[in-house]
Amino acid sequence: ILKSRRLDEDTKAEIEELLISADVGVEATEYIIKKLEEKKSEDAFGTLKEVLIEILSKPNGLNIPVEKPFVISMVGVNGSGKTTTCGKLAAMFREEGKQVVIGACDTFRAAAIDQLKVWAERAGATFISHMEGADAAAVAFDAVNHAISKSKDVVILDTAGRLHNKRHLMEELAKINRVIKKVLPNAPHEVLLVIDAVTGQNGLQQAKTFREIVGVTGIVLTKLDGTAKGGIAIAIAKELGIPIKFVGVGEGLEDLKPFNPHDFVEALLA
C-alpha cells in the first residue's frame, strides 16, 4: 500500500492521518511533514521512515556504573506496567548472571508488595520489603544498603503509581532519590519512566513533569503487544530527547525487549 510517491496533497493528508492515529500528536506531525517537504523526495513513505527513525535514534543503552550496585528506579503513572517490568528487568539481568535485589517501594496500593514478591521469586531476585504503609524511601535505603553489603550487582526499585499532577506524590519520589543518594551519591543510575503504549498526548506532560522532578533517564514503553502504536514515544523523543530504552510486549517474564527504532517504525507504518 505504501508504494513510492511524491509528497502531494493527498499523500500529505494520508501521512497526517497515519501519524495522528498513531498518537504522534499534532506538533510532531507538523514538524515531520515539514521535514518531508524540505527533502522533496520521490518516495515520501520511504523518507518518512528515515525521518522517524532519525528522531528515535538516541543512545539508549543503560548507564551501568563501574562500581556495584547499579540502581534502577521505576516510576510512572498508575497502571502503566512498572511492577511487571521490574520482574522482567530482573529476569533479564539474571540471564546475564547478575545478582539482583528488588525493593518494594510501593507501600501504598493494595497487595502491591505481594504482587512484586511473586515477580521477584519468578526472576530469582532477592526481595526487600517493609510493611504496607511504611516509608517508601526507607525501603529504598534498605534495598540499596543490602545490595552494597551483600555485593549484589543490580537494585531495581518499584515505586507506587502516581499521577504527575499530584505535587505531594511527586515530592515523595524526589525524596526517595535524596535518601538513596545518602548511601550512593550517583544513584539511582537509571530512572525509567514506564509509559503505556495506549497513552495519548498526556504522555508528553508525564515525561516533562517526571523528568523535571525526578530526572528520567529513559522510557519503557509497555503493552506494545496490543494494537496501540505508541507514537507518543516519537513526540517525547522529538520534544524532550528522552530515549526509549525498552519495550514491553506481553505479561510474561520474558516479554521485554531493548528498543529498536527500525522495528518500532516498521510496526508504526504497517
Binding site: N78, A110, A111, G200
Partner: protein, 289 residues
C-alpha cells in the same frame, strides 16, 4: 485556550472584510487541532467539525455580531450532546451481575470496589467476585479492598476463572446478596482466547451491566479497543478512570461516538470514595481545554 484562539481567528477574519464560508475553515481547523491535541479519535474529529461547520453556516454565525462566541457555543453544545446524559446502573435481576472488563491497568479492580462501596451506601447488599486468575496477587488486591469497605469477596479455587464464576453463582443463589460485582483480568481486545473467556462468562451470568473501564489518558487506539469490546460483548456502559489527572480526556468523546453507550461513572482518585457520577458539561469543558 480554545476560546481565545477562536476569538482571535474571528477578529482577524472580520478585519479582512466579510466572513465567508471559505474562511470559517480557519476556525474549523482551530477546533480540529484542539480536539486532536485532546486525544479525540482522528475520524471522530473529522465528522465532528463537519457537523459544527454545517450548523455554523446554517445558523448564520457569519452574520452574527459575535461570531466567535456563537461558534464556540455550537462546538460546546455539539460536544455536550454527543457526550450524552448520565445514566444510572440498571440492576433488574436478583441478584444482578455487574461485570468489569477492559484493557490491562485501566482500573477494573479498584473500580469494582468503588462500585460495591457506592451500592452499599445506597442500601444494596453487594458482593465481589475475584475472577482474575492471571495477574499475581490480583485476588489478594480485591480481598484487601473488600475488607476495607466491608464487602465480602468470593475467591474460589484461584486457578480457573470460569470455575470461580460457576462456584460464585451457586454461592450467591438465595444468599441475600442482591448485586454481584465481578472483577476480571485485564486483557487485549485482540487476544482471542481471553475475549472468548469473557463471552463465556457473560453467557453464564447474563449480567445486567457490562462496564468497560477506560483510562482517561488513552489516545487514538482507544477507538479500536472500545469498538471491539463493544462488538463482542455489547457493553452497557463505561467507567472512565484517572480523571484526577490532567489529561483532557478526549477519549470520552471517542468512546461515546463509536459505541453510543453511556458513561456511568468516573474514577477521580485511588481511594474508594474517589468515585463520581458522569457530568457531561464538566467533561465537555475539560475536553475543550
Amino acid at each position: 485556550g480554545l476560546r481565545e484562539k477562536l476569538s482571535n481567528a474571528f477578529r482577524v477574519l472580520s478585519g479582512k472584510g466579510k466572513i465567508t464560508e471559505k474562511n470559517i475553515e480557519e476556525a474549523v481547523q482551530i477546533v480540529k487541532t484542539s480536539l486532536l491535541a485532546a486525544d479525540v479519535s482522528y475520524k471522530v474529529v473529522k465528522e465532528f467539525v463537519e457537523n459544527v461547520k454545517k450548523r455554523a453556516l446554517g445558523e448564520e454565525v457569519l452574520k452574527s455580531l459575535t461570531p466567535d462566541q456563537m461558534f464556540i457555543k455550537i462546538v460546546r453544545d455539539e460536544l455536550v450532546r454527543l457526550l450524552g446524559e448520565r445514566e444510572p446502573l440498571k440492576l433488574v435481576h436478583n441478584p444482578s451481575y455487574v461485570m468489569m472488563v477492559g484493557l490491562q491497568g485501566t482500573g477494573k479492580t479498584t473500580s469494582a470496589a468503588k462500585i460495591a462501596n457506592y451500592l452499599k451506601k445506597q442500601g444494596k447488599r453487594p458482593i465481589l467476585v475475584a475472577a482474575d486468575t492471571y495477574r499475581p496477587a490480583a485476588i489478594d488486591q480485591l480481598e484487601v479492598l473488600g475488607r476495607k469497605i466491608g464487602v465480602p469477596v468470593i475467591t474460589g479455587d484461584r486457578r480457573n476463572a470460569i470455575k470461580i464464576v460457576q462456584d460464585a453463582m451457586r454461592q450467591v443463589k438465595d444468599s441475600g446478596y442482591d448485586v454481584v460485582i465481578l472483577d476480571t483480568a485485564g486483557r487485549l481486545h485482540v487476544d482471542e482466547e481471553m475475549m472468548q473467556e469473557l463471552e463465556e462468562i457473560k453467557k453464564m451470568i447474563r449480567p445486567d451491566e457490562i462496564l468497560l473501564t477506560v483510562d482517561a489518558m488513552a489516545g487514538q487506539d482507544a477507538v479500536n479497543s472500545a469498538r471491539t469490546f463493544n462488538e463482542r460483548l455489547e457493553v452497557t456502559g463505561f467507567v472512565v478512570t484517572k480523571l484526577d489527572g490532567d489529561s483532557r480526556g478526549g477519549v470520552i468523546l471517542t468512546i461515546r461516538y463509536i459505541t453510543g453507550k453511556p458513561v456511568k461513572f468516573v474514577g477521580v482518585g485511588e481511594k474508594v470514595d474517589d468515585f463520581d457520577e458522569f457530568y457531561p458539561d464538566r467533561i465537555a469543558n475539560r475536553i475543550l481545554g
